[in-house]
Homo-oligomer: 391 residues x 2
């Protein structure tokens, strides 16, 4: 087991009516003037935004709205938010939405007290030392950003989609999580979120670090729960219990508990980020395409962890001594599972008929370096092979 | 799933030499004058205390020692600590040890800023609103106190052993966890710690709340890891990887992650606390005796959760439709596991030849009320039956 430091100070308030605690939680943080970030209007149409804002008004907390944040959020909205915060003396940020709203809120929070350009953090030129406090009302269980210190932003100039990872600085102070808010998610968005949270576990599970049984077993437990609960939310979107299990699983998948004590991988995310940046696909759907391709490559080059996953999570038996065979059988079951949720498992099913794989590979290694991957090191010939496996 | 609030702000620094960060972590908290709590001298003999104190000296942090804390810690030592802190203007506490040192540190931390008697909190007469910050150098993986907001203290007058549970106030600010520090634990203490951490999961797993699949699966994962790693630490006390897995499992067993979203039980702990208070037995060894007895009662009155545990964790198969049978088979395997660690599974094996069960039952319900238990409600006839099952 590797040495590690782990701290998850986010206060999770989970359950019915959780969003109604926004005002009191902001007040507890002594915030008086907040920026409220949200997406493309569903939080207005559902009445959620108004309910949340009423709790701020009850606490006499001034607020400015920053709506219109798009999926795969980009730098102009971050710059707009930073400008508003500086001009209005904003002292905290409340994100109402999913990963895009939260990641934008975090980027603004990091940028406001920083003298240079906020992209310096994403470009690896600076480290986030301080940030405005961020709170979250979660509406989409997927990105896990409500419990992570991470933020993924795309720089429009060059379409660079980059994930910034911080240990503490950008972890939300609180996350208000009401499973009922997810009842109205479209099936495709629910399914993409499930693929995203599973990917967050796979990226940590496929690790070169040996002897981390406790972290493996916790990871396998979260995966098993997701696989059991996912069909229920697809069949009955208003199944509170199943929605609650999926929502909390999405947080545990990405708040770090599935990664303690080991090196992580993250190649599938890197490869998907190029798909999203170039073709504008939904992140979770892109992951459902990339993950099986990446795992197939691994089944032939380093099958051990895939075989363990197959045997412990996908119930593969009878292939003792044949790790590649066991890993491939698990991948087949994973694809069947993704398809049962209505997810694509090939680029063609994702709507990319003739992918420009040379471009994807070029951008991937430009953004992430010549050699990538924690579980197994990959250079452009290998990443080309994986993109081709995903066609 | 029940509504819940969950926040674990403790910063875990895990791995080799972790204890050497005591000074810098205390400095990060702006502490200048700390009380250092420890037990009966093993930390002196091993040289650990001197190593830790040297890191305080490097940071010019003044310190006063409070040694001699006994297993099943009692109120006089807490009162002594409170007195020292007040007279010396102590601003924080560092516990170096296991649950007894940590729980005493927490009790002192709660008592110092409180006007009344510290026992008011344990007696349910007051709520901990503020406390001195507590840091931990962990030497015994067992109680889970390094990551919990709980503290168990015995009031000598009447031998009332009571657990105080706080959400946030008494959670340590940091926990330094070096698995190497556990290499020298005697086998009986290692084994008792393993029983204790398993009990912390069972107390949460046996819940009347339905549909908490994610929390069940995480709990089963931690239990499975413990069962796999325990034989390794017993066979080879200096197996770093196995010690690391057990140490982190002990934290996850009790920092709340195995309890989110559901009502918990805690009867086995309550019943064991009376055994410890009356007969002075080691807490973990007492739990190894009480747990199978409690589970046996449940197998006959509410077998569902025990049957699930048997099937998912102990690999019991072939008893479909027979939950009582499956639960009993799992209990048999649990007893075999405890015995394989050298633990007692009856009061007689624990050295209590002729238990005064009437006294145990009387004190249990005096301390905890006429009706106890989250999973299944028990009054004195039932608790008498369980103590008798444990003879």
């Amino acid at each position: 087991m590797d040495n590690f430091t782990y701290c998850t100070p986010t206060k999770y308030i989970f359950g019915k009516d959780a969003e109604m605690q926004a005002g009191t939680e902001l007040r507890r943080l002594s915030l008086n003037n907040v920026l409220v970030c949200y997406g493309q209007g569903s939080v207005i149409r559902s009445g959620l935004l108004q309910r949340v804002l009423s709790t701020l008004e009850n606490e006499h907390i001034a607020h400015t709205e920053l709506g219109g944040i798009e999926p795969n959020p980009t730098d102009p909205k971050v710059r707009e938010g930073i400008g508003i915060c500086r001009s209005k003396g904003i002292d905290g940020i409340l994100a109402v939405g999913g990963g895009s709203a939260i990641d934008t809120a975090k980027a603004i929070a990091a940028g406001v007290p920083y003298d240079g350009d906020f992209w310096d953090f994403w470009a690896g030129k600076a480290t986030v030392e301080k940030a405005l406090p961020v709170g979250v009302v979660l509406t989409i269980p997927a990105a896990g950003s409500e419990g992570s210190g991470n933020s993924v932003i795309t720089l429009l100039d060059g379409m660079h989609k980059i994930s910034l990872r911080t240990d503490f600085a950008l972890r939300p102070k609180f996350a208000l999580m009401n499973p009922e808010l997810t009842f109205t998610l479209p099936p495709a968005q629910t399914a993409a979120g499930i693929a995203d949270m599973m990917a967050h576990i796979f990226e940590r599970y496929f690790s070169p670090t040996a002897d981390v049984e406790i972290t493996d077993r916790v990871s396998e437990g979260v995966l098993t729960a997701i696989i059991e609960e996912a069909p229920k939310v697809m069949a009955n979107p208003t199944d509170y219990e199943a929605r609650a299990n999926i929502m909390w699983s999405g947080t545990l998948a990405h708040n770090g508990i599935c990664g303690t004590g080991r090196k992580e991988d993250w190649v599938s995310h890197f490869m998907e980020h190029e798909l999203s940046a170039v073709y504008g696909v939904t992140h979770g759907a892109g992951l459902a395409v990339i993950l099986p391709a990446w795992m197939t490559f691994m089944a032939h080059h380093s099958p051990c962890k895939g075989a363990q996953l197959s045997r412990r999570v996908f119930g593969v038996t009878g292939l003792e001594g044949n790790d590649t065979g066991a890993a491939l059988e698990g991948i087949s079951r994973l694809k069947t599972f993704f398809k049962s949720l209505g997810l694509p498992v090939t680029m063609e099913e994702l709507g990319i008929k003739d992918p420009d794989i040379d471009l994807l590979v070029k951008k991937l290694h430009e953004n992430k370096g010549d050699e990538i991957g924690g579980y197994y090191r990959l250079r452009s010939p290998q990443t080309t092979e994986i993109y081709n496996l995903a066609r």
